[in-house]
Structures are given as structure tokens and as C-alpha cells.
Amino acid sequence: MNIATDYILALSGVLFVIGVLGVLVRRNAIVIFMSIELMLNSANLALIAFARAMAPAAEALRGHVLVFFVIAVAAAEVAVGLALIVAIFRTKHSIDVDQVSSLQG
């Protein structure tokens, strides 16, 4: 079965929008962070779909390479992000971003 590139791109677009809305709407730092991961992975999906569409061309590899880097970088972001969230939870006992506001002024 061969799914047209358009459908995959539509899915990727929907995932990206869900991710953006998640960041804007949710208040829990971990959920916001998950939404960001969703954005990154929707981009991965788009990259792979484009790479598949131009498949035999050597340039298609660039898409694959970028996907690898995005995955690796996302892991690094997870590490730093989780560490920061744990650190702030220890100090404040909350990860609600609305309460992270002692700096407003």
C-alpha cells in the first residue's frame, strides 16, 4: 500500500498545530515540554515524507540526516529540560508555569 505524500504532510501539519496549541494552552511544564517534542517529531515526519517523495535522488539523504540530528538533539533537550523541571520542583513543589512568576515586575 502506498500512501500519498500529501496525507502524511497533512498529518504532520496537524501534529505540529496540536503541539503549538499545547504549548500555548497547557500550564504544566512537562505537558508543554511534551507538546514541544510533538512539534519536533511532526517536523521529522514531514522530513521523512519529503525524502521519500524524492526517493532515488541523493539529496533525499539530507532529510534523513536531519531527522537523525533532530532526534539526538531532542534527547539532549529532554535531559536538560527534565533536569530543570526536577530542580524547580524541588525548590517550589510545583511545575505549573503560572506559578513560575516571581520575576514579573
Binding site: L9, A49, L66, E77, G81, A87, G105
Partner: protein, 483 residues
């Protein structure tokens, strides 16, 4: 790959290898002797700087065009490494005083610098993304370095969430551009679009998303809301580095990507950049007036300056003005770096242990207590306003001229008017320092003093004799723009 490729990125290799080694060396440095790590880090940066200066003027591509070494890259690398050296000098005593002296500080600083170096030489969107993340991730940690102090942790998490959000936009933008043109190489994108004229909408949306993502990084309105909080909460020495290094890194990417990869679309992004620049200058300067805390004031000032720098982008969209605009923006970045690092250096010196000494009122009477410092701060404030005889004036002059030459008179007018507005809050600091009486508590730490003197000297010297730096900037081409 051959050795020539490796030589092209030798400063980066030295810096990255040294950062990894330093992480290990630091494990064996006793807790009370972390100054050793600082000095070792400074040595690493100096070696990279020397290598880079030896390569100045070379133009070549490496790694199949993934890396582009040209005048633009070399000059910015020089700037980044110099900023790194000053940042180490400013942090040296500051992190001891704050009780957050850990050796990782310097390793993280080196890693961030690696990201900036890579950003300046990126010739492919994949490298742009990698550089952006390498620049950002260590900075998130540095912003939270004063843990477990709540302010610093909050700054870190805000910076992290919004920074990661922005990089999501950048990646998706890159994906769309890859889909539209079938390549991620900056020169390939131009060639592909020029040949086929296909998918302009996809390309347009993709470049727009990259503009949004990088706009977050350099803090332009309306993507600036994190800036005051993060600059306020992060340890001041980190803020100083961030406000100069991260901003210059972001602009390096912005200029190279938009001028090298999307010149064909300039009719679409130039007006967008124009409006963002105008909004940024206006809002940054107006919001700064209301600030009572000097860190927040300087944060809004840095937003405003991002607007002035961004003005050069629409001007450079006009091919005949591009050389002039590029020269102006490079000079401005240098001037801004010198001035801003100096101003933040004074803030570092004035900060008390528990986050006190940061209100503008706390600067009352500085002219009696430390006349030298007050004079330096006055110079920095004049330079940020853009008054002669400082480097800030020359920088603004050339930016405005480039903008006028590109027939964007109204944009230049916005720049001039907002500069006048900015004089109000910059001069207020001078008034407080010289006209009010008070007994401010200051510190005299030799390395910190040295950075303030050095930047103060730079502010005035380059303000009076801008010629050499200007000549250097005008030779610093983006290699893709060489006719």
C-alpha cells in the same frame, strides 16, 4: 573529507575538544581551586582565537558546502571568541561571590561558544539547526546555574521552554524548505528555486517559520516576552554573555540564511522584517522607560537594539545596498558587544550578595564613590543611546545610512525617534549616578575591573577612530554574495 576541511574548522575543533577535556580535568580540580578551570578555559579560547586570526581573509567551503569559511564567518568568530574571553573574566570572581563556583560553568561556556562558531560558518540548514541547539542548550543550563535560587531556576525554565518552542519552528521551517526545494544547502536552495520557481508558498511559509524561530532567539517583538524575565533571573555574568553572544549568534544565522538562501523571496520577507524591526525598536525603548531594575532595563534595551540590528536585513534585501548594510550590521554588532558587555560588567560589580544593588536608585552617588566606574557607565549609556563620540553613534549612523540608501526613509525615522526616546532612560542612569547622593556598595575585583576599563576604552576609541574596524567589516563578505 580531507585535511583542508578539518583546517577550515580548526578553531571550532580546538574549542570543542578543549571543552570536553576541561569537563574531565575539572573533576580533579579541588573545589576551592576552580580558578584553575577558568584560566584553562581562557587559554583554550585564546588558542582558538589565534588560529582564527591566522585564517582571517581566507574564503573556502568545506565538508561539501556544509561549512562556509568567509570573511563574514571569520570576523564573527573573532567577535564570539573575544566575547567568550570577557565573559570568563567577568564570571571569575562573580560566581565565587554568589557561591555558585562550579567548574562546569566554563565547560558550558565553551560549548556555547562552539555553537556560535558553528553558526557563523554554517552553509547548510542542517548545520544551522545543530549550531542553534549547541548554542542554546548550554545556555539554558547556565541561566539556571545559580540553583537552588528560585529566580535563576525560573529564568532557566522559561528560557528553556520558549527556546525549545522556537527551535520547533525552525525545524519545521527547514522541513518545509527541504520539501519545496529538495535540498538544505543554502546555495542549493537559491539555485533550485531560481531554476524551477516551484512551490513558492511552501518556501515562503518555511522561511517565515525560520524567521519566527530565530526571532525568538534574538528577542525581537513580538517574540521577546521571555527576555526581561530571563535576563533578570539569570546570574548577571551569564546575562552579560547571553545578551551579546546569543544575540550575535542569532543574527549571524538570520543574515546568512536570509541573504544567502532566500534572496529571491526578499519581496515577501523584507516588509515583514521591516515591521518587526520598527515594532521592536518602539516597544523595547518604550517599555524600558518604566523599569526600575537595571537588569530589566538593560533587557529591554537589548530588545530595542535587536530592532536596530534587524533594520539592516530589509536594507540588505536591496542588492545594491547589501554591501553597505552588511558592513553596518557587522560594525554595529561589534560596537554593541563592546558597549553592552561593559554596561553589564558595571552591573556585575554593583550587585550585592542577595540580589540587591540592582535598582537604578542604588547607583546614586556612584560618581563620588567610584568616579572611574561612573565615567565608564556614563560612556556605555551614551553609546547605547547613540551619541558621539562613542562607538554606538558610529554604529547607528551607518545602519541608518544603509536604511536610507535602501529608500526606507520611514524606517530610519522610526529608528531616530526611538533613539531619542531611549535617551530618557539611559540618561536617567547618568543623572542618578552624578546628581543624587548616596553610598553605593561596589566591589573591586581585578579581572572585572579590567573588562570594564577595556570595554570603556573600546567604546571611546572605536567611536573616535572607527576606520580600521569599519575597513575590516567592509572586507567581511558573505561568500555567496561575491559577484
Amino acid at each position: 573529507m580531507d585535511t583542508r576541511d578539518l583546517i577550515s574548522i580548526l578553531p571550532l575543533l580546538v574549542l570543542a575538544g578543549w571543552a570536553c577535556l576541561l569537563l574531565l580535568i575539572d573533576l580533579f580540580v579541588p573545589r576551592d581551586r576552580k580558578s584553575i578551570t577558568a584560566i584553562l578555559a581562557a587559554i583554550g579560547i585564546s588558542v582558538a582565537l589565534v588560529i582564527n586570526l591566522m585564517q582571517l581573509g581566507e574564503v573556502r567551503q568545506a565538508f561539501n558546502g556544509m561549512i562556509v569559511l568567509d570573511g563574514f564567518a571569520s570576523l564573527l568568530i573573532t567577535l564570539f571568541l573575544a566575547v567568550g574571553l570577557i565573559a570568563i573574566a567577568q564570571a571569575y570572581d562573580y560566581i565565587k561571590r554568589r557561591g555558585i563556583e562550579r567548574g562546569e560553568y566554563y565547560s558550558l561556556l565553551l560549548f556555547t561558544l562552539c555553537g556560535m562558531l558553528l553558526m557563523a560558518t554554517a552553509g547548510d540548514l542542517i548545520v544551522v539547526f545543530l549550531a542553534l541547539e549547541l548554542l542554546s542548550i548550554p545556555l539554558y543550563v547556565l541561566a539556571g546555574f545559580a540553583r537552588p535560587q528560585l529566580e535563576s531556576e525560573e529564568a532557566a525554565i522559561k528560557y528553556f521552554l520558549l527556546g525549545a518552542f522556537a527551535s520547533g519552528f525552525v525545524v519545521y521551517g527547514i522541513a518545509l524548505i527541504f520539501g519545496a526545494t529538495g535540498t538544505t544547502a543554502l546555495d542549493g536552495i537559491v539555485a533550485s528555486f531560481a531554476a524551477t520557481q516551484e512551490n513558492p508558498v511552501l518556501l515562503l511559509v518555511g522561511s517565515g517559520m525560520i524567521l519566527v524561530g530565530l526571532g525568538f532567539k534574538v528577542a525581537v517583538v513580538p517574540f521577546h516576552m521571555w527576555t526581561p524575565d530571563v535576563y533578570h533571573g539569570a546570574p548577571t555574568a551569564v546575562t552579560a554573555f547571553m545578551s551579546v553572544g546569543a544575540k550575535a549568534g542569532g543574527f549571524a544565522a538570520l543574515l546568512r540564511v536570509f541573504l544567502a538562501a532566500f534572496p529571491e523571496l526578499s519581496a515577501a520577507w523584507a516588509p515583514m522584517a521591516m515591521w518587526i524591526a520598527a515594532l521592536t525598536m518602539a516597544w523595547g525603548n518604550i517599555a524600558a522607560i518604566a523599569q526600575k531594575n537595571i537588569k530589566r532595563m538593560l533587557a529591554y534595551s537589548s530588545i530595542a537594539h535587536a530592532g536596530y540590528i534587524l533594520m539592516a536585513l530589509p536594507a540588505a534585501a536591496n542588492p545594491t545596498v547589501a554591501p553597505e548594510a552588511l558592513r553596518a550590521v557587522l560594525f554595529y554588532l561589534f560596537g554593541y558587544a563592546i558597549t553592552n558587555l561593559g554596561a553589564w560588567g558595571v552591573v556585575v560589580a554593583m550587585e550585592k550578595a542577595e540580589g540587591g544593588g540592582l535598582a537604578i536608585e542604588d547607583y546614586s552617588g556612584l560618581s563620588n564613590r567610584r568616579p572611574g566606574f561612573a565615567l565608564a557607565m556614563a560612556l556605555f549609556m551614551l553609546s547605547l543611546t547613540g551619541m558621539p563620540p562613542t562607538v554606538g553613534f558610529i554604529g547607528k549612523f551607518y545602519i541608518f545610512r544603509a536604511v536610507i540608501d535602501a529608500d526606507l526613509i520611514w524606517l530610519a525615522l522610526v529608528g531616530v525617534i526611538t533613539s531619542l526616546i531611549s535617551a530618557y532612560y539611559y540618561l536617567r542612569v547618568i543623572v542618578v549616578m552624578y546628581m543624587r547622593s548616596g553610598e553605593p556598595e561596589t566591589r573591586s575585583e581585578s579581572w572585572l575591573n579590567a573588562t570594564v576599563w577595556l570595554t570603556g576604552l573600546g567604546t571611546i576609541v572605536f567611536g573616535i577612530v572607527p576606520g580600521p574596524l569599519l575597513a575590516l567589516a567592509s572586507q567581511s563578505w558573505l561568500s555567496s554574495l561575491v559577484p
